[in-house]
């Protein structure tokens, strides 16, 4: 992906305002909820893109809430959002009931791109960065791209296990000489091995060759993943998170510093960036 120094360039995007109706919204693990809704966005959105959701119930908090999705089914027009209830906005989102309606702006931004070169892909996710990685894994599986996954978390949490199951449920690699690995590590060793994702990654890339890496999680983790990829000359796509105003490039609030100088906008040029173009 090439970043235009002034992100407001280019022709009008296909981003629109779409209605949605909740048909299920439940806790799938403590602190983690899954909302399924009917919306036309489902047939427009690609893995790694996001929607900016108007969550009813508090007009004193005026901003929409940017959310990545885990599953989008065009045929049934259904979108599945897996979200951690961390702040006031996601708490309100968890209060939406079946039949409730609102609007979402989307599809927003640029999502994950398939590898440009032949070869295996490596997915590295940290805690809250898991849902977009699940969407990425689904994309790769459908495209029959072989991949391995590393999931890191502070400690064993139900929502991590929930999303790990999602990953394990995906179709196995086809026509690959090696079986897919889904490796887990936690800071305290309560789940998988003890240690950091970057340590696990260092061992893995020494063991297997990769053409492309995909990462989403805390900035320090993604920075580490980017460094390791740069050393080995592995292409790396990173999905960044920023506080956002509009979600479609109108307000320039969600700036991301670029190696080339100046800023890109997370909402419009991202959220997925070429890790080499971003200042970590």
């Amino acid at each position: 992906m090439t970043i235009q120094p002034d992100s407001l360039a280019g022709t009008a995007s296909a981003t629109g305002v779409h209605g949605f109706e909740v048909f299920s919204n439940e806790a799938v693990a403590d602190g983690v909820w899954r909302m399924r809704c009917h919306t036309p966005v489902a047939s427009l959105i690609a893995p790694g893109q996001f929607v900016n959701v108007a969550v009813p119930g508090d007009s004193a908090h005026i901003l929409r809430i940017p959310l990545s999705f885990s599953v989008a089914q065009a045929t049934s027009q259904t979108l599945e959002l897996v979200y951690a209830v961390v702040g006031e906005g996601t708490r309100r989102l968890s209060c939406m009931r079946v039949g409730d309606t609102s609007t979402m702006v989307g599809p927003c931004g640029n999502g994950w791109a398939l590898p440009t070169h032949e070869g295996r892909a490596l997915l590295v996710a940290g805690g809250v960065g898991l849902p977009p990685i699940v969407a990425c894994a689904r994309m790769l599986a459908e495209a029959s791209v072989g991949f391995d996954v590393i999931v890191g978390a502070q400690t064993s949490a139900k929502h991590v296990e929930y999303l790990l199951d999602e990953l394990r449920r995906l179709a196995p690699d086809e026509g690959c000489d090696c079986a897919r690995k889904v490796l887990v590590c936690t800071d305290d060793g309560t789940l998988g091995t003890r240690g950091f994702t970057t340590d696990v990654m260092a061992d893995l890339i020494a063991d297997r060759p990769y053409a492309q890496a995909y990462t989403c999680g805390p900035t320090p983790m993604m920075a580490g993943v980017a460094r390791l990829c740069a050393k080995r000359d592995i292409a790396c796509q990173a999905s960044l998170e920023r506080m956002m105003g509009c979600g479609f490039g109108a307000c320039s609030c969600c700036n991301v510093a670029l190696v080339a100088g100046g800023y890109a906008l997370c909402c419009k040029d991202g959220p997925v960036f070429d890790a080499r173009e971003v200042v970590w």
Partner: protein, 312 residues
């Protein structure tokens, strides 16, 4: 209600003719293109005001540039990131020319750190931007270290900026004012030949993370905008309108036709939708309809009859 049956909605903002009073606040509408996915900007709005542009490119402020405030407001410190006049014209000139062809006025905003920079930007715009219906001089940005709000802090300082740019164009000049002393500063700008005034810019505010003891944005203070400031903005438009004869574009927390109508009753000839564009992208288009419906309900044949029609 058929357009034919409806009241005349066209207004004249100091020489900038608008098909209806609805404009967009600089920095909240990109340069229009981002909204084409939501509605046909050129066929709908009276005018758009582009992002502030300086003679040479500005990087803008580092992250974080935005914080949400609990009180129906947001706090921003973008700092006028822009590609410079040449870059701006090269990239948006054609699109903006298209808006003009559709009957939508295009107001280009001029930014600078000093009198010299305002002058240089103005000269470049005059030379490179034939598509501009007029210009808005931003002397009220609270988010840059030099220039911006500092240039509009006093009647004397504001007048000096106006004296500097006035000779450089024959096209209408609007001045974007800061939220203080609007009567005095408005009179000073009018005396120096401003064709119109737009107010208010964001109100300086501060939001502190009480755990880290640091600002929630990149600078200690930034600009507050949103519904929270609407009543304050209406009051300032009223104060300014009573002090000057030039037309005013009312800005501040407008989210619907009623909010816009308050501005017009207080003395605004035009209004700009700002922060609402971010959270409700089709807002300005809706305001056009709601405003016409209100004029209709008020039983007037021309929206101009309602400008300053507040009864005290």
């Amino acid at each position: 209600m058929s357009k034919d049956a409806g009241p005349r909605m066209a207004v004249n903002l100091g020489g900038i003719t608008m098909r209806n009073p609805v404009n967009t606040a600089s920095g909240t509408f990109g340069n229009g293109e981002q909204f084409e996915g939501f509605y046909d900007v050129g066929s709908t709005l009276g005018a758009i005001t582009c992002k502030g542009v300086s003679a040479i490119p500005w990087e803008g402020n580092p992250a974080p540039r935005l914080a949400e405030l609990g009180g129906a407001a947001i706090l921003n410190s973008v700092g006028l990131q822009n590609p410079g006049v040449a870059g701006f014209v090269g990239r948006y000139g054609e699109y903006l020319q298209g808006l003009r062809r559709k009957g939508c006025a295009v107001i280009c905003q001029v930014a600078g750190h000093s009198l010299e920079e305002y002058a240089r930007a103005m000269e470049l715009f005059e030379e490179l931007a034939p598509f501009a219906s007029g210009f808005e001089i931003n002397i009220s940005c609270p988010n840059i270290a030099a220039g911006g709000a500092a240039m509009g802090a006093t009647p004397a300082a504001a007048a000096e900026v106006m004296r500097t740019v006035r000779p450089l164009t024959t096209r209408p000049i609007v001045v974007k004012m800061a939220p203080h002393d609007v009567a005095e500063i408005g009179r000073a700008l009018e005396a120096e030949g401003a064709d119109a005034l737009s107010l208010i810019n964001t109100i300086p505010g501060m939001s502190i993370d009480v755990r880290t003891r640091r600002s929630r944005v990149c600078r200690p203070t930034a600009g507050v905008s949103g519904p929270a400031i609407h009543a304050i903005a209406v009051r300032m438009v009223w104060e300014c309108a009573r002090a000057v004869k030039v037309p005013i574009c009312g800005i501040g927390g407008i989210t619907c036709g009623e909010d816009a109508a308050e501005m017009i009753l207080a003395g605004a000839t035009a209004i700009s939708v700002g922060t609402a564009n971010l959270v409700d992208p089709a807002c300005a288009a809706r305001v056009v309809e709601e405003l016409e419906q209100w004029a209709c309900d008020q039983g007037v044949t021309d929206i101009n009859e309602l400008i300053g029609a507040f009864e005290c």
